[in-house]
Symmetry: C2
Subunit: 363 residues, 2 copies
């Protein structure tokens, strides 16, 4: 029995035992919460229970909070059913679109004073309960869709869930949420998918020249089509607005490339590239951080144990490893470990590793 | 004096002391090659020499190989000048487009029997000699543009350079090369740039929801506009061909999203997403490898030394670390270290790390 360290006083019911539902169950159970799981598929439910994400429901259950973790298309109807079935519970959902389910709920005539929509900005490329992780939400933003008429107590209950799972609550209305995810998630998905589609018919010789740039641009193109059709369909107007501006810029680039020597063509290209530079600097995160540390690039033979040996020796030398990036090309005999250390430790790291036989790049 | 371990017998002249030129100089000097540097900018030249990438030229110099590392627009004229100035040397270049400079050289009437174009698929987001690295090319493909009339000896000389620098020579004709880089490098650049441009005018609140997906899609949008205008301009026809197909698909997606409930709209979206899935699986590399190892995900406090301590303890436990990925959200108190170990070592790694107080995700 895990000691109860939850902010939630009472039982939580999770409907839908996929990646998000199972991860919520695992995270809450780690805090000692009594988690009741439900899923339309008996096989899914059994798997998630075996996996430790919660228990089967009983007639006596009385949840204080219901978390609906079903695909976007089903969200409104499942939320309505849960509101009716549990007349004292607050009901939230985790769908990645918020306007469409809310409008559908309104149209259905459901009483919505106990419904607080939410959306954790977390996920993995692999789905299903088997990919569930108690820490999936740790450090991630989790949007709570507030409405002026919602009672603060009910919003707080959902925020307690979010804090219990290690995420950061971010209050936003449904329209602002859908516009934001159209920008940071849905449009990038389409952009990446259509680039990846170009690779389908290409030659192995061309693909052998691919580097990290192409890999990064196309990584999310591996996402699940069934889920994404629903997400894109449910957030179509917000996505169309951004995608149409993207398409117009693309037409400008195509026009410039059709006649690259025409007056203004190169300037048009330069302006698009510079605008891309400006855009990417707006992303919070790594940019500022990189300057806090100095890099040491170590060449590591591609054989088992070499990386482990490197880190063991880093420990012996007593240098703090602040961050690390591995670069490795398929087929290469050697990988590069880019190690971030405090600037004052850089010289000593290079000297000590060199004296232990490591090859340091650029020194 | 470094012992000469080069395949090249004689002096190498590098023209253009930016990132690629300086990296070539550093790599060759590490093998004991006599490297002569030249650059139109005296300041650039001084910096690269200070940095150890080579020495200043003298009247007595007689290079066996000249490597032209100037921007694409200047490549043909500099290659022609070097062919004339060094009548016994083989001349190569490293421009990332190959058809346009060759056609320009042909049109200029230069004798091209000593010219062997090439292109290393390597680079960094930061340019300049100061970012140069002797190992920049290690494990990367480096295209050599062969032509039926070229003497094998001269092609071999360029391949010796490539092998000396740790790269892998890949023979291709200029047209195949330009089509390949249009696909794996130039089109992704545009796709990424135009996505990043969308971020320029957006709200901080929206950007705070950004995750790794958007970061990956837009990373290369930080590339230098001046260089990329030249690259895209010089490879315009090959890029246009791919980009037009991309734009046509984008129009299909837009049409589907304009009326997401229309018959066939969701099917159209699903087909695009599935085609993206297929495309991304064609990329060589990590996909196969991931299955060879088992993952252990360790939660690491965001404070100095924690990662170092983890790797030290991994070493003490005696488990080989096969690969590693760090996940860290800005502002989060905790990062996730995804460690790859041999499947048979997974249980022991989890047990030993847990008993030392590490929090393991999903266990």
């Amino acid at each position: 029995m895990v000691e109860n360290t939850s902010r939630l006083a009472g039982q939580v019911r999770v409907v839908g035992a996929g990646l998000l539902g199972a991860s919520i169950g695992l995270g809450l159970r780690a805090r000692g919460v009594d988690v009741v799981l439900a899923d339309a598929s008996p096989a899914n439910l059994r798997l998630a229970i075996d996996y430790g994400a919660g228990r089967r429901e009983t007639a006596a259950d009385e949840p204080v909070l219901v978390v609906v973790c079903v695909p976007p298309d089903l969200t409104a109807s499942v939320v309505a059913a849960e509101l009716a079935a549990h007349p004292h519970a607050v009901v939230t959902d985790v769908a990645s679109v918020k306007v469409a389910p809310y409008e559908e709920l309104q149209a259905s005539g459901a009483l919505l004073d106990r419904y607080v929509g939410s959306h954790p900005l977390a996920g993995r490329e692999r789905g299903g309960a088997i990919s569930g992780r108690a820490d999936l939400f740790v450090g991630r933003p989790w949007v709570v869709c507030t409405r002026p008429e919602l009672s603060r107590t009910r919003v707080s209950l959902v925020e307690s869930l979010i804090l219990d799972l290690g995420a950061t609550p971010v209050e936003m209305n449904t329209v602002a949420h859908d516009a934001a995810v159209a920008l940071v998630s849905h449009t990038p998905q389409i952009v990446s998918t259509l680039m990846a589609k170009r690779l389908a018919g290409s030659s192995d010789a061309a693909l052998a020249l691919a580097g990290q740039g192409l890999r990064d641009v196309t990584r999310i193109a591996a996402s699940e089509p069934e889920l994404w059709v629903q997400i894109l369909g449910a957030n179509a107007p917000a996505v169309v607005e951004i995608l149409r501006a993207y398409r117009d810029d693309l037409d400008q680039v195509l026009a410039a490339l059709d006649e690259p020597e025409a007056p203004g063509a190169r300037r048009a290209l330069a302006e698009e590239l510079a605008a891309g530079n400006s855009g990417v600097t707006r992303l919070p995160g790594k940019h500022g951080q990189e300057h806090r540390f100095s890099q040491v690039v170590v060449m590591v033979d591609d054989k088992p144990g070499e990386l482990g040996r490197l880190f063991t020796e880093m420990g012996e030398i007593g240098v703090n490893l602040e961050d690390l990036r591995l670069e490795h090309s398929p087929g290469a005999q050697i990988g590069l470990a880019e190690i971030a250390v405090l600037p004052e430790a850089q010289r000593r790291t290079i000297d000590e590793l060199s004296s232990r036989g490591w090859r340091i790049a650029g020194s």
